[in-house]
Amino acid sequence: MIEGFQNPGLLAGVALAAVPLIIHLFNRRRFKPQPWAAMRFVYAAYKRTRRRVQLENLLLLLARIAAVALFALAIARPYASGDSPLAALREERRDLVLLVDASASTGYQSDVRTVHAAIRARALELLDDLDGAQGDRARLAFVGERTRLFPWTDPADARSILDALEGPLDEGADLAGALATLADELEVEAREGLGSALEVRFLTDLQESTFRANVALGESDEDAPPPALAEQLERFDALGTTLEVEDLGPRVLRPQNLSVAALTPLGEDPRVGAPFEVAVEVTNHGDQDVLAERVALRVGDERLPSQRVDVPARGSAEATFTVVLGEAGRHALVASLEGDRLGVDDARAHVVDAPPPLRVLVVNGAPAERIEDDEVGFLIAVLEPPTSDSAAAAPYAVTAIGAAEFDGSDAPIDTSDLIVVANVGTLSGSTVERLEARVAAGATLVITAGDRIVDVVRWGRALTGDDGAGLLPAEPIQVVSAPRRTSYYRVAEFDETSAELRYFADESRRPLFTEVPIYDFLGCEPLPGARVLASLSDPRSSPLLVERPFGRGRTVLWTTSIDRAWNRIPDSGKTFVPLVLELFDAIAPEREEPLNVGVGSDLTVTLADFPRAPVLVDPRGTPAPIEGAPTEREDGRWILPALSGASLARAGLFEVRTEDGLRVPIAVHLDAQESDLARATPADVEAIHPALRVARAERDDEPAAERPEAPRSGELWRLCAMLALGFLVFESLWGAYIGSRRRNHA
């Protein structure tokens, strides 16, 4: 009959069925004594009506008892098996949760169709088995890096939801995350008493990486924390549910697949006109060597000559391309293979940024005819070396002006990224204000000392301000000089980890920096927030190189000269050249990072000019407006509204376009792990947890295996509730009829 109850604790409510009986018995004690003369009529009437009245009252009482008992039974939610005599009265509702593996690997062309198509077909078949008229429900979840869990729907709506999944997602499959999300929901439903017998199926290609952290591939480590998937399956087990895994993947355990695993620019950052190499790593995930695979690289709209590589089984090969960028800006590189059964990983994009030359303004405080005597002669020589490659753009665009010109309003302060103020004795207030504004907006200011700075304190106050919050990172005190014939100072300590001086951290290079004589320097006291990068060997360990942030930019103080007047550093090319280049490279204003992100990552795009009507064009060429207003940054650049991960859900090359013709490429990468189509064995998967069972779904060309009958809830609560309601209605009508009849005869 009844096999059990979903809420057995509530079965105690059946005891409430005794309440009508108790009330009935209690009422029998409430007879009011009444003397009566005409007892002969009473007896006669009683004799005539006793059986009928007793029957009427008994029916009323039984109806009440039955109503209460059935309500209590309904709340306890009884269920019956198929062979029960009550089977015909069971509620034949099915609750099916379909976890659809939507990872990129399911795009594999297994035979005549992709694994994804097989999964879809199987999902539709399972949904077709449901009967919405009987109350069957389905809940879909697309399993990717994040889980798209849909609410309970009837089978027709579930089919519509499935139609919305046009193809595989360019993501991996986080099965543990999906199960965690689902278990959260199911636990809430169970707590609220809404849970029912569930059928949870995971339609997947059984890719090993989906189960990797949980597959017992080697010796188990008993000290290791329990795998996440097993934890979630434990929760399913607690809910009395198992996870039926249907393997719809290829037949072989390790399907053949080639992928572009990486696309990497080699060497220094690309510069306009300067050739640089790009390495394309091709990985063979199969068990067979691949010979002469053609690898192509496209730079923007230009396709480079393809190369052929031999890729060993379960190995990688690299093709190297030489790329020259004709103009500054972000450039998209797309490497591609000839194409195989899994197309999504046969191409990979990467964005490189060829920045425009850094605009350097050099203010010469002590010009001279001869380069050896000029304050900035050696510096400019380093920044703008003579080159034979006319096509290659120099990394620095140097503008040199004199001190007097620097104080003029035409001085190109506002258009410079890096400003070097070398041995300038006086600075007007307006110039200092312009400098502060520019540095605060992101530029870098380098100040070097020299003999033109006569009134050290006044010079320092002009740059540090009264509160010490000005441009200078250290407060100048006095010029310190050593007797040149007998002694000198040298670098005593420096920050070997800093990007500016890391070059000299190597033992072979250290003397190049620490053994060069320094005769004169500007004694300083570092101000709060300043960082001393190098200090001298004088008793006070005075700073040689000190820097401090200022707004979005920063200032750097070199406390000696950059000509030969106060030290011998400019004389030593092995010291001066790397020092300048490393220092300038490190202190140059930060460049915008090239736009390379993983699938589904959020991204903020910064543009040089105001973006008019920006749109995001996906790899298929479909544009979508970017909603929201751009915001202007302090340095005059514009920030687009953040692009959500959902809008970057495809691997490939996206592009931000504006009405002004601006094009900004964005490379969205597929997780390389997804290309490895190695499949787990059912035994390995089932070893993860007993609540996990693997079933091999039959194919069209295979005889249909006999499938066990889908579990049905078999609940009877609705029947009980309806019967209870029926008894209540009967009780009301019957009571009303009896009352009416008795009143009418009053």
Binding site: F31, K32, P33, A38, M39, F41, V42, T49, R742, H745
Partner: protein, 313 residues
């Protein structure tokens, strides 16, 4: 006549002769007189032929007849000896039989059925005796409990009222039939016999007693006095009925029982009414909630009208 003087002239038996009833009856002097007349009109001529003034019939002379009763005029015309017979007119003789069984003590109002019955009996006795007729009283349950032999005059009224005052529903059961049978040979003065009772007795037994009295030359009027609760059975909640006259106890749901009870009660009354109708006797149903003066005067007026051949409405 001022009401005060009339009231003061009555015997002081207000326990049974309720002043308000007598006041109403006195106030309605015409009604009272007609009520009495109603009784008179209902009386039967004496079956004893005698020498009173009202001629009844001729019959042939038989030896032993008084010669003075021979109608000589008829002899002169027809030479036949016939004797003139006259209807004997006697005073009204009213026998009041009041049931004093335990069941008559039932009350749902401020007075019992017995109270109501004795008020009615006292009223009729007063009316009859005021008209210089004779009246007697019998209190009974399953046997005779008190008796005032028929007589006339104010002392008789005092005696009847005293007996009614003294009477009370006792522990006896209702046995109208057997009491009537027992009384039949003892009621020497033929006349009108009015029985006040609830008649919670076997109908056949009652009717046997009635027939016995009727055969004895009595005119019988049965007045059934019931409490209104007995006619409606309007009990609002579950009741444990404790039967009077040792009828036991019974727990009942009045709503469930009402229909059948009322049918039983009506059937019993109908049987009495039918039995009495067959003997051309009056059967009067009263409930203690009805105003006694109105009921009595209405009945007597109807009886008078019937005797005169008018409408009984």
């Amino acid at each position: 006549m001022p009401r005060s003087s009339e009231t003061s002239s009555r015997p002081k038996h207000e326990g049974v002769l309720r002043p308000e009833i007598l006041d109403r009856l006195a106030g309605l002097e015409l009604v009272a007189r007609r009520a009495v007349e109603g009784f008179m009109a209902g009386q039967h001529a004496s079956p004893q032929r005698g020498s009173s003034v009202e001629f009844a019939q001729y019959r042939a002379y038989a030896p032993g007849d008084e010669t003075r009763r021979i109608d000589w005029r008829v002899f002169a015309r027809s030479e036949r000896l016939v004797v003139k017979e006259y209807v004997e007119e006697t005073n009204l003789s009213l026998n009041l039989l009041v049931d004093a069984s335990e069941s008559m003590g039932f009350r749902s109002l401020g007075w019992s059925k017995f109270d109501y019955a004795r008020w009615a009996a006292a009223s009729l006795a007063h009316l009859v005796l005021t008209n210089r007729d004779t009246a007697g009283l019998v209190l009974f349950d399953d046997e005779v409990r008190g008796k005032v032999p028929p007589a006339n005059g104010t002392p008789q009224e005092v005696a009847i009222l005293r007996e009614l005052e003294k009477g009370a529903p006792g522990g006896g059961t209702t046995a109208v039939g057997s009491v009537l049978e027992a009384l039949a040979p003892r009621l020497r003065h033929r006349g009108i016999t009015v029985v006040f009772s609830d008649f919670f007795d076997d109908v056949d037994a009652t009717m046997r007693g009635v027939r016995r009295l009727v055969h004895g030359g009595h005119e019988l009027i049965l007045v059934q006095v019931l409490d209104p609760l007995e006619t409606t059975f309007d009990l609002s909640q579950l009741a444990r009925l404790e039967g009077l006259e040792g009828a036991g106890r019974l727990k009942v749901d009045p709503r469930a029982l009402r229909e059948a009870y009322l049918e039983e009660q009506r059937a019993h009354t109908e049987a009495l009414k039918t039995g009495m109708g067959a003997l051309a006797l009056d059967f009067l149903e009263l409930t203690t909630a009805e105003p006694l003066d109105v009921v009595l005067s209405t009945y007597l007026a109807r009886r008078l009208a019937r005797a005169r051949g008018g409408s009984s409405a």
